[in-house]
Symmetry: C2
Subunit: 371 residues, 2 copies
Amino acid sequence: MTIAPGLLPEGLRDRLPPQAEAGSRLLHRVIVAIGRHGYARVSPPLAEFEEGLVGQLKSAGARDLLRFVDPVSQRTLALRPDITAQVGRIAATRMGHRPRPLRLAYGGPVLKLRATQLRPERELTQAGAELIGTDSLAAVIEILRVAVEALEVAGVTGITVDLTLPDLVETLAAGAMPLPADKVDAVRAMLDAKDAGGLASLGADAYLPFIEAAGPVGPALAKLRAIAGAQTLDKRLEAIEAIVAAIGDRVALTLDPTERHGFEYQTWIGFSLFGDGLSGEIGRGGSYTIVHPDGTEEKAIGFSLFIDPLVDVGLGVVEHRRVFLPLGTDAATGAALRADDWITIAALSESDDAAALGCTHILRGNIPQPI
Amino acid sequence: MTIAPGLLPEGLRDRLPPQAEAGSRLLHRVIVAIGRHGYARVSPPLAEFEEGLVGQLKSAGARDLLRFVDPVSQRTLALRPDITAQVGRIAATRMGHRPRPLRLAYGGPVLKLRATQLRPERELTQAGAELIGTDSLAAVIEILRVAVEALEVAGVTGITVDLTLPDLVETLAAGAMPLPADKVDAVRAMLDAKDAGGLASLGADAYLPFIEAAGPVGPALAKLRAIAGAQTLDKRLEAIEAIVAAIGDRVALTLDPTERHGFEYQTWIGFSLFGDGLSGEIGRGGSYTIVHPDGTEEKAIGFSLFIDPLVDVGLGVVEHRRVFLPLGTDAATGAALRADDWITIAALSESDDAAALGCTHILRGNIPQPI
């Protein structure tokens, strides 16, 4: 079957003007905003040894790899479906000796094996920051502030941060609210599905109140505090209160304490980011553990932002003043206009049409006149 | 064989600070400079159907593809070794109806099957501009000016533009300096190799003077004009003189009239770009032909710049003022410093060490003090 000219594989697409420029501008703004907080840029390659990449990725991520055999190394390589794991590798190896906390930033394309219903693209632009060496409350607050600021400079408004406590069930099951070890996973799955009947049938009625303890952070915290066993989580609940105190004036905060979907590798805290008029997540992050080549573990926290949904709703588009330079305009005049923030479109022949070429102005008597 | 932690496949590498940031900054600067001349950004995907990509690429490029079978489309895809061909596809299909001349810009990573001796990397960053719908002298001059300006804003000095006339032998062989059709390729190869003996043995002595007609553009042009048959190339020689008049004050110009290596797909003019202290080409371009899905052909001209050699020599690195914010510094103080172009590094614990974290200053009494 011949492929029609210009047809692209499922999930891959061209970005055309003005979206392509908007995507580039948003990525640049986000990376610069992150960098202002001391996060230094790293650029890992688009592909790595499959074996190495799988080792760095969550098990879910490993299923999501586009693989190929590299004729040069004669090994299987995989395209990165995520940059976070590569940054963890760099932090653990080439930058393993650098003083902590180590602040790293990144931005670039990732390629996934499969699209999702929410996002039909398989190539996406990801940007983010990783803070390596600590997952303290101060670290969480910094990371959330940087993420929110980066979204703000990208033009996102009405930001919501949805907090979760990924290891909550595991922690309680081993302590104040005991569960048989072989039931922990099932209870987590029921809580993820908010399935009260399922919880009851597992004999985990004590966990039922967690289903209701989700929503805007104030009432959700109050409900959490009312669950007898959850009171042993005092430090975490205090941490959430501190987060509310730190960023509650800038963003809406919600809490879904047992949400675990997509947070399988997060340790004590995770979060999703949302914005007004944007469907689905526009970022996520949380605390996690980096494993060094010698087996030692290191705490870390970070976030990833997804640039494509922002581009899709029209963020990052800037209206330019475009001036047509008639034949014979000298080079210095064009240069002066560009230095004054004009985009210049030079006539190359008598038939060039200023309006058709999208110019807003024509240079007449050395002055740009509106078309 | 297990892969050592952190080892990357041949030709793929991590960019670390400060080079990663420099690469991102240079790409941004170059793209912005190109955009000021009315070139609108497009972003094609990292991978396409192999069949489609091969159709767009020069035959040399098709040998240079990293291929993989896409489990979703069940087709062979290839990673792009070049972005120019993809921009040509966009110009011929999705933007085929847009008024001409069409000015498009691009920038991003490409992946090649094999590295070269000069450039051991297989993943490279390419940026460039394509002017579609004309390959006139005015178009050549605009493209060269934009390329030179983009290199200048990237910090390149001592720029040399090496011009070539890729179809010169073909044109002369069919006209003023006849050659049997079956000898044209051999003569071109001997000229590429500057092999006088080879030319003589082919009975193509008339072409011997072209070997000497290379070097700084003034003397080379004079030698070209002295070749009896080459005088039929008057329009091209005048074009080169016009190029000298247009950009000869900004760059050094050389001419290698029969150089064909890497210009197999260029039509009447090609060029390579070099800079002081940079080994090898830092860009190239020329005129070419775009084939539309209906078989019609369209003239075009463009250039590609290679960002990696610029990063490798240290261009794009900016020294930042980095101020350490002791514990308890309020958020507004940090924000004010960042707005004043400081990079802020916030203490997260008592043990954070400003000097070890690369800070140049510490905030004391609300004023940054040098460390």
